[in-house]
């Protein structure tokens, strides 16, 4: 923390928020609002005289409200920057007649109520999103009586309570009578693994955090009774199982089953009813204090930032990686990287590791001092563009901007474009050229293929990463299939334009196959969703035209599915044999008419 605060190349902006980001990889424009601190952070020595005289007392957020602070305060003793701040909403005002006590007492004259919010502009080449987490708040559903029973705490409140630097100096006392609790319970999965409340995902850290807390409790007081109510104990990481065993050896009871209800006794103890799924019996446990192991939610600002940077979210609300296994810290938006709980719940070790990984990826991007854009990108022909916005809608990389209202033609940011070609396939006006995979180039392949004996051939489009690779793998495995299929390679199945399919049928193709990566495995995030929609659309049109929809097939074939590729080819050949001369002739005729 202090290292970051004092590093000559790190500019720390606290009380600050990113308001807007424009531009693209290599050249982002960032607008930041730095809220007024009302204390000169470089001059303040954190002596604390100001807070002493401040008359406004508020609950201390850092201690989860278990202690108090003033309206002028240091968030916590080791804060960086090591300077006080005024919460201006709480402050009585600086009119000397009203208060201004802090201003008077500050020798160094650091306090200045005339400070105002500052707008800061920064130019950066890359962005690391490390927006962290937000703990689940059990007040919403009043889980286990949290809002009604004072001796029910959240795990974060408990954390401050056992912390040597916390409000009790690390002494565990329960709120109602400030006595040492002798019987303490922990309830796991509060706001996790539940369809009703919080997330339905596992929050990753709560099991180990509870186990740690049980060890701390047993260290403080070996005789105290500690019970943990759980579904599964997820001690999955390095050294975790060892801590779990140690906790059990020290006598901590792990009871499988989440409590059904909690009630308060006359002396403010808690009566916990649980069906022990091991014994199968309903048990009542009386406890002095109860700790709710609350889950982790994404930071509330996640969605705003997601829109600003064109990022994706998982159904759980965390940021989605460009590839969940092979590019785990890259965002789909080029130049943006994830670190820490913003990407999903994780512990400190994982956060630190991921942060270093994000740094590696950012450095990899920046070390040359320039961005080389792959030439296989798309290109807008402005004279044809009607600024309809379709291309921007389908681009998985947010690489296209178009002002639909002002009818300003689309613009491709070639640094962000990954070259899937979905925009070119979807453009209703033929206004987008996909370099190296132009309409003309692909259509010429179709035409060349079908110039002779079209009736005998199977036309197949295959994406480079999965289905074309699957075909190669069939070859490596020497899997035999009929020799009349001819593949046309595109980078992504999303490139396969409707007109390629119509051209094939118009030139007499009996059957056409479109193949790509499985849904979820697309090399271009989710461009193959558009393939799927497009094929469905063509199917419908075929039916309308009286062409058997079956003649157009869609198949997902992964790079490892050589056998599946061969099987699909055999199936296509069977299909081809069922297509009659008459059908083909009819199709050619109907498609030769002006409007398809």
């Amino acid at each position: 923390m202090t290292d970051a605060g004092r590093h000559p190349r790190i500019k720390v902006l606290t009380l600050s928020e990113v308001k807007d980001v424009s531009g693209h990889v290599g050249d982002f424009d960032v607008r930041i609002i730095k809220h007024a601190r009302y204390v000169d952070e470089s001059a303040c020595t954190a002596c604390g005289e100001c807070a002493k005289v401040c008359p406004v007392v508020r609950p201390d957020e850092f201690n989860m409200g278990l202690s108090s602070r003033k309206a002028i305060y240091s968030p916590f003793p080791q804060a960086v920057p090591s300077a006080y701040a005024v919460n201006v909403d709480e402050c009585l005002g600086h009119n000397p007649a009203v208060c201004a006590k802090c201003v008077e007492v500050c020798d160094k004259q650091c306090i200045n109520f005339h400070m105002s919010d500052e707008e800061i502009h920064e130019k950066v080449g890359s962005i690391v999103v490390a927006t962290g987490l937000s703990p689940y708040d059990p007040t919403i559903n009043d889980e286990y009586g949290y809002t009604r029973f004072e001796n029910v705490l959240t795990s974060l409140e408990f954390e401050r309570l056992v912390n040597a630097g916390g409000p009790t100096g690390g002494e565990v006392i329960r709120p109602t009578d400030r006595k040492k609790p002798k019987r303490i319970g922990f309830i796991q999965c509060v706001g996790s693994r539940s369809a009703q409340k919080g997330g339905n995902y596992c929050s990753n850290i709560c099991c180990m955090n509870t186990i740690k807390s049980t060890l701390v409790l047993k260290e403080h007081d070996p005789d105290c009774e500690v019970k943990v109510f759980y579904i599964d104990i997820r001690a999955f990481g390095k050294g975790f199982e060892d801590l779990y065993s140690r906790s059990r050896r020290l006598g901590v009871q792990y009871i499988r089953g989440l409590p059904g209800s909690v009630s308060e006794t006359a002396d403010k103890n808690l009566s916990v009813a649980v069906e022990n799924t091991v014994s199968g019996k309903l048990e009542i446990h009386e406890l002095d204090m109860l700790v709710l192991a609350v889950g982790l939610l994404p930071d509330p600002g996640t969605q705003k930032l997601q829109e600003m940077l064109g990022l994706q979210l998982t159904p759980d609300g965390f940021y989605l990686e460009a590839h969940p296994k092979l590019l785990p810290v890259d965002a789909a938006t080029r130049g943006v990287f994830y670190a820490g709980c913003a990407e999903g719940p994780k512990d400190i070790k994982e956060s630190v590791t991921q942060a270093s990984a994000a740094a590696a990826r950012a450095v990899r991007l920046m070390h040359k001092g320039q961005i080389t854009s792959e030439p296989i990108t798309s290109l807008v022909l402005e004279e044809h563009c009607k600024a309809c916005g379709k291309c921007a809608e389908v681009c998985p990389y947010n690489a296209i901007t178009v002002d639909v209202r002002k009818k300003i033609p689309a613009q491709v940011n070639t640094a962000s474009c990954a070259g899937c070609g979905t925009c070119a396939a979807e453009c209703p006006f033929g206004a987008i050229v996909m370099n190296h995979f132009t309409d003309g180039q692909i259509l010429s392949q179709v035409d060349a293929m079908l110039a002779e004996n079209a009736r005998d051939k199977v036309v197949a489009f295959a994406c480079n990463w999965c289905s074309y690779a699957g075909a190669d793998y069939a070859g490596v495995s020497r899997l035999q299939y009929p020799a009349n299929v001819r593949l046309i390679r595109t980078m992504c199945s999303g490139r396969v334009d409707e007109k390629f399919i119509w051209e094939a049928f118009a030139k007499g193709a009996p059957v056409v196959l479109v193949s790509g990566c499985h849904i979820g495995d697309c090399h271009y995030i989710d461009a193959n969703h558009w393939t799927e929609k497009r094929v469905a659309k063509v199917h419908k049109k075929m039916e309308k035209l009286g062409i058997r929809a079956e003649r157009l097939q869609l198949a997902w074939i992964s790079a490892a599915e050589g056998a599946r590729f061969a099987e699909v080819m055999r199936r296509m050949e069977k299909l081809r044999q069922q297509v009659t001369e008459a059908e083909i002739a009819f199709t050619k005729e109907i498609l030769s008419k002006p409007k398809k």
């Binding site: 970051a4 290109l379 050229v433």
Partner: protein, 205 residues
Amino acid sequence: MTEPTKNIQAAAPRIGVFVCHCGANIGKVVDVAAVAEAAGKMEGVVVAADIGYACSEPGQQEIKDYIAEHNLDRVVIGSCSPRLHEPTFRQMLISSGLNPYLLEMANLREQCSWVHMNDSEGATQKAMDLVRMAVSRASLLYALEEEILPLVKRTLVIGGGVAGIQAALDLADNGYEVVLVERKPSIGGTMAQLDKTFPTMDCSI
């Protein structure tokens, strides 16, 4: 149908087609000589030849000699999968003074000879088609250049918790400027609130 404005040929293309035996791998199933001969008659093809191993050093040299001799501006190779040797042959074009995007490959091994081993006739027909398609496409290829865009060597880190701090430090220690933006009055995030075992204020943080 719209054609790219860029895609205008200055002159008639001069394509060379080279069909690889890959030892017996292609040659035993596909009639390589016949494919080369058929290719020689295709539109835009100036020269066509069969080659023992196109990927080998001598094979590449042979092709480069053809490029120079016939002043070729486009090359079609019928051999193995482009996933294997496209980088090799693109490099070869560069060393012959051609733009690497003026190469097209026909996959005659993984997607032809190896999968139609008992159908020499069909495989040869397919090989001819694949070469024809490649030639047709090749005649419409145009040179592409990598675009060089400027880059600001600075990073914005959003969030000053343990992850943001670590990312900022690793970047700064690598020589990059970092702007670290934190909503709260201090950096530190949730970690600063935690008690020891998930660790404490110890050491550098």
